[in-house]
């Protein structure tokens, strides 16, 4: 009888190839490694920033120097040498930024095509406006005109600094201050690009906004900064996808995302993160140390974070909501896959300040091979948050017997008229489940995909249609070769 033991299955896992591990050969302008005030001034000058922003960066740098890298997360990695990282890299022949897609380096376009996001095609067919960040420069922004009609601003943050300084000045750092944490401070000092999005009052953004990030240069960190502001009664759905080429060195990615929702505004922020995860021994891969936070500043505002995290060798990420406005809502839906030797410590913080604020947390952790998956979540109900409600559900799925799942829910309740529910489960993909599927004619690999997708369903249904399909495919690719 032909048999495939689980161990054999998982051995095959290791041989799975990172699909997006190609390097684009483009002449680029890269700063030598190292971080000091001159480097920050150089970046600021390169970007043509006003003095206030240069000062803002320098202030962040001074704060950062006094801070210590946090080590409370359930992850292990060698010490990062911040002086060995280059903090600026930009494709050389587009220093001034392209005016249209025709001006974009064909090599770059090819890269995006490999990633499955042909810009021209998307511009015409998909109705998705893409702001593509290639290392530190934003190379192409589509659909600007159609968005402009509605008064929606969607542009690289470096451009927004010049074109809309009053908005940037008002909101930058207002959700994640420079002093927030070690990586946020570092990002504030050296951020190179990212997206800015502003939806005017009462406006429903006419299309899904999307940014693809990609780290190309070796030894560069990517420190993008995203800021989204939804004015009163505005609505926007924002999609973020990430991939990085395959390299033996570890690369640092310390991004900051800030969301601001005013009265009755709604922001949906969806991420599909597929940075290079490193190899089976944990060599290479992205350190994804990201600070994402949304402020439901207005009454009845709503912020939804949906994330599908399949890449990176280490993920340290807690997209959070500050529920300040009365009746505001925060949601967090997450699928995190740790295979190979990946480590993920991810979750959310829901901080209830306003009355009758509500939050929902659905977290699905999948561990396979030698992956370690940790859910870390905090629900804080402040004294003022009368009538606050939270529902949390954390489920873990284990594939094989060398992986781990951990759950750390923290609850901090200061108001007795509030309501919190927490459910958690851990299950293993059973041999009996796989056998049952196979007995119906479904191959082992498809059976695992079926079971994993079933497990993730509650999260996938929160993703925009085309993203849900991509997320599903990504999980399949990540689990490819996991069976004989």
């Amino acid at each position: 009888m032909k048999q495939e033991s689980e161990t054999e299955m998982l051995k095959e896992y290791a041989e799975q190839e990172y699909k997006y591990g190609f390097v684009t050969d483009i002449e680029s302008e890269t700063l030598p490694p190292g971080l000091n005030e001159e480097v920050i001034q150089f970046i600021s000058k390169k970007k043509g920033e006003p003095q206030w922003l240069t000062d803002w960066r320098l202030k962040a740098y001074k704060i950062w120097l006094k801070m210590e890298e946090p080590h409370w997360a359930n992850v292990e990695y060698p010490k990062i040498n911040y002086q060995a990282i280059s903090y600026y890299s930009a494709p050389k022949n587009m220093k001034d930024g392209p005016k249209s897609l025709d001006e974009v380096d064909p090599e770059l376009i090819k890269t995006y095509n490999k990633l499955g996001i042909p810009l021209e095609e998307q511009e015409i067919l998909a109705g998705v406006a893409v702001d593509a960040v290639f290392d530190s420069m934003s190379v192409a922004t589509t659909f600007k005109d159609r968005l402009a009609e509605k008064g929606v601003i969607f542009c690289p943050i470096s451009e927004a600094v010049k074109e809309h300084p009053e908005l940037i000045k008002k909101y930058l750092g207002s959700v994640v201050p420079q002093s927030d944490n070690f990586f946020a401070a570092l990002n504030s000092a050296v951020f190179t690009d990212g997206s800015f999005c502003y939806i005017p009052p009462g406006t429903r953004c006419p299309m899904e906004l999307s940014t693809y990030f990609r780290i190309n240069e070796p030894n560069t960190g990517q420190f993008e900064r995203t800021l989204i502001v939804a004015e009163k009664g505005a609505y926007v759905s924002y999609l973020e996808g990430c991939t990085a080429p395959k390299r033996d060195e570890n690369q640092l990615h310390a991004a900051v995302v800030e969301l601001v929702a005013l009265d009755d505004a709604e922001i949906k922020y969806s991420t599909v993160q597929n940075w290079y995860p490193g190899d089976k021994d944990g060599k290479g891969g992205i350190y994804n140390f990201v600070t994402k936070r949304g402020a439901c500043r207005g009454n009845s505002s709503k912020i939804t974070w949906t994330q599908v995290e399949t890449g990176s060798s280490i993920t340290w990420k807690y997209p959070s909501c500050i529920l300040q406005g009365d009746n505001s809502k925060g949601e967090f839906y997450s699928v995190a896959l740790s295979a190979l030797k990946q480590q993920a410590d991810t979750g959310t913080k829901m901080i209830h300040i306003g009355k009758n604020t509500k939050s929902t947390i659905i977290s699905k952790g999948i561990s396979a091979q030698k992956g370690q998956n940790t859910y870390r979540g905090q629900v804080m109900i402040k004294k003022s948050a009368t009538g606050a409600r939270n529902y949390s559900q954390c489920d873990s799925l284990l594939i094989g017997d060398q992986c781990g799942a951990h759950t750390f829910p923290y609850l901090d309740v200061k108001n007795t008229k509030s309501h919190i529910e927490h459910e958690a489960s851990t299950s293993k993909i059973g041999e009996d489940q796989i056998y049952y599927c196979k007995q119906r004619g479904i191959s082992e690999e498809d059976a695992i995909n079926l079971i994993v997708n079933g497990f993730c369903k509650e999260v996938f249904k929160e993703l925009p249609m085309e993203f849900a399909v991509e997320a599903q495919r990504l999980l399949e690719v990540s689990l490819e070769g996991s069976v004989g």
Partner: protein, 250 residues
């Protein structure tokens, strides 16, 4: 269709099947009866290809192929269907989607085109009536939250959709009330034809009142000790296993 010759099988070193010989032709329905622990379910699992069961000796030929060489999913695609005694729950996996994936996997294996969603819905619409299952079960995760009877009917429903050549029913009658038993039996009978065969593994004669077998085999301690027609099942019911075992020794 199926020829089992001197089949020996074990689980974790414990010998369970100790020389089974059985031939099943297309169009036939065989019942395997026997006391608890006699190896009935093991036989069904070995034919389906379960990993936990080690084949120590013997041959199984199925439609001219060496069945023991095929993996579980290949056997399924070759038309072997096992109705589980304890159907497995697949949380979050939609019942319809699961069944469509299974059917298409089998069609693909046979080199047929995959069935589209519309055709598939038509197909299952007919079959679900046959098993008197609620439409709502189609939208629920596979077997999750199903009652015992619903799980068993769902098995036969899957069988009706997949149209196997050789169906193995493992204690399908256990946990069914009399109405459900009739429905399940009706479903199985509706599928019987000259081209397919059924092996019913059961402890009780009860199911055989509704699905009348052509042959009845009594399995005791890993061996078939007696074979006959429907009358043998009735005799078993009347005398009990001990008596039959005694008689076979005499």
């Amino acid at each position: 269709m199926l020829k089992i010759t001197n089949l020996h099988a074990s689980v974790e070193g414990n010998s369970i099947l100790k020389g089974i010989n059985l031939e099943v032709k297309a169009g036939e329905t065989h019942a395997i009866m026997g006391p608890n622990g006699s190896g009935k379910s093991t036989l069904a699992q070995v034919l389906a290809g379960h990993d936990d069961y080690e084949v120590d000796q013997g041959e199984v030929s199925y439609l001219g192929k060496d069945l023991l060489e095929l993996d579980v999913d290949e056997r399924a695609c070759e038309g072997i269907f096992l109705a589980f005694q304890y159907p497995v729950e697949l949380p979050g996996v939609n019942n319809t989607y699961f069944l469509k994936s299974a059917l298409n996997a089998q069609r693909k294996y046979r080199g047929e085109t995959e069935i589209d969603a519309m055709e598939f819905m038509d197909l299952i619409g007919d079959k679900i009536k046959l098993l008197n299952l609620k439409d709502s079960l189609l939208k629920r995760p596979v077997n999750e939250g199903f009652s015992g009877g619903e799980k068993k009917r769902n098995e036969i429903f899957q069988m009706a959709v997949l149209e196997p050549k050789l169906a193995l029913l493992d204690e399908t009658d256990s946990g069914l009330d009399i109405d459900a038993l009739r429905i399940v039996a009706g479903g199985v009978n509706a599928m019987r034809s000259k081209d397919n065969a059924t092996i019913i593994v059961t402890h009780y004669q009860r199911l055989l009142n509704y699905i009348v077998p052509d042959y009845v085999h009594v399995l005791v301690d890993g061996k078939i000790i007696s074979s006959g027609d429907k009358a043998l099942a009735l005799e078993l019911e009347e005398k009990g296993y001990d008596k039959i075992i005694e008689e076979s020794k005499a």
